[in-house]
């Protein structure tokens, strides 16, 4: 058994999930804020677009992403700026795909937590002469903390578990796009049961730990302060 062969997909998967989660927190927060606060009638259309990956077969999402990232899509154009030909079958392409795929898991909890405290704390802060920017950072963000924690954990875990989308846009390039879920599939296909067991068991333990800690955290944050 080759340990390096096992570690490479683990490292790659953690990198992909971490970068995806950070990107999602950065772009998901303003989207969640807008969805929570805007009075625009068509905001639910945007909410639906964000949520579509929840119900879309991953291979379908992967198919469209493949086209978008390929040489004839916007992804290819961006790759051209950096001397490449396509974003498909690259790590960067995986990050982009994962961002779309995991977005609802990050945006939805953050949006909920922005909605749950209502207008009042924001109005209070404004009457205390806090600018909208200060209100956002000193009141909205701290009050929405449970939503950020839930969103980050779910976004991370969901990215770790993604398979269909990656198969479509990433393929199976060791060290570049060969993540854990693909590796498990590979081992099973080539009848390497021992290796498949190690990775599958590790992912099971990871998933359990994530869900358990979320539940414990939820209970702790749900209670009134100390």
């Amino acid at each position: 058994m080759n340990t390096a062969e096992l570690w490479s997909p683990i490292r790659l998967t953690l990198e992909l999930a971490s970068i995806t989660t950070i990107v999602l927190l950065i772009i998901g927060t303003p989207i969640a804020w807008w969805l929570a606060r805007s009075e625009a009638r068509w905001k639910e259309v945007v909410a639906a677009i964000v949520a579509v990956p929840l119900v879309l077969p991953p291979t379908v999402l992967g198919f469209y992403l493949l086209i978008a990232l390929g040489p004839d899509g916007p992804g290819g154009w961006i790759a051209g700026l950096f001397g490449g030909r396509s974003l498909a079958f690259t790590f960067e392409g995986l990050v982009i795909g994962s961002v779309f795929y995991s977005m609802p898991f990050v945006v939805q909890p953050i949006r909920n937590s922005f909605e749950v405290f209502g207008d009042r704390p924001l109005e209070v802060a404004a009457t205390l002469r806090a600018s909208p920017w200060k209100v956002f950072w000193t009141v909205a963000i701290p009050l929405a903390r449970p939503g950020f924690i839930t969103g980050a954990v779910l976004g991370f875990a969901h990215t770790v578990g993604e398979f269909g989308v990656i198969l479509m846009i990433g393929g199976n390039i060791p060290g570049e796009t060969k993540v854990l879920s693909i590796t498990v599939y590979d081992y099973v296909e080539s009848l390497k049961w021992a290796e498949a067991h190690i990775l599958a068991g590790g992912m099971l333990a990871f998933a359990f730990a994530v869900i358990l800690s979320m539940m414990l955290l939820d209970r702790r944050l749900g209670r009134p302060g100390p």
């Binding site: 009042r120 009457t127 806090a130 600018s131 302060g225």
Partner: protein, 371 residues
Amino acid sequence: MSGTPETIEAAFTGSRGDFLLEVAFEAPMRGITALFGPSGSGKTTILRCLAGLDRMAGRLSVGQEVWQDDDAGLFRRTHQRSIGYVFQEASLFPHLSARKNLTYGMRHERPSTEALTFDEIVSLLDVGHLLDRDPSTLSGGERQRIAVGRALLSQPRLLLMDEPLSALDRQTKDELLPYFEMLHRQLTLPILYVSHDIAEVSQLADRMVVLADGRKIAEGSLVDILERLDLQPATGRFEAGVVLIARVISQDKAFNLTRLDHHGQTFSIPAVDLQIGEEVRLRVRARDVALSTESPTGMSIRNVFAGTIVELREEPGTAFAETLVDIGGGRLRARITREAASDLSLKIGRPVFALVKSISFDRRSLGQKAV
């Protein structure tokens, strides 16, 4: 175009669904002006427009600063207005300690030497022992005191209070009212105070703007407004009454009574802890006043005032009539039956004796003298 230095001038017009609001009023740059009216009369909407939290067409100037002028396309947003706002629920920031709540909007530059410092506010509101507590561990009254302190520490030019007592139980209200009276004494800051409770308004306000169905129906000094019989039922039926300014002249230890002088006539009320010479406002409810055409004798009622009927208003379709009796230097309202008015042939100009039972007064009948 700027406002006069000594007044707040507001005019708003607009609608919220079926509700129409059209109101214009003035308030002085000192003392407490009550926006008074039943729920649904538009008081809170007006306060929110004053704060810039809601927007309706109109104009608003506070002293020489113009905060809204639609003609000039000017609208200051909430955080650009120098206000303090106390909501009905204390609305403390749940993620901050009491101390951090107090200092959230604190201004370090003091606009005048009269402005209160952090330590002064903490001691006036008696919240020193609460500073490191989490808001969720505070009682309703404690939370509201922190909320008031938080608003004051932003050094506002205008304090807006939206029924700050109405979410609290009777006991907590009574615990908080003295703090509000004290603020009234200590601060030169103008306060606009929204309330539907005539007793609370009688205790605190100097001026009143009376609202009904989104319109102003009267505006003036507290004493004048409360004497107006034509404002009924807006100023209350059961709770209607007047306010007299009286001075403490003696404490009767033997009978546990406090005696107050009002232009040479004496009120006896159940003992309250006040200094001799102190001026207080005394609220006398119309339903606690009886009338007699002869000087009564052999009677348990302690407060008897000779006076003249100056206004008499029967309420058609009810058993009642309202009268206004001039007792020299002040006026009492008496709510009697139409039958009694007819039997005693009461009419304007008729000399009468107004009778008030001492036990109809309590601590809630007293307020600080108006500024």
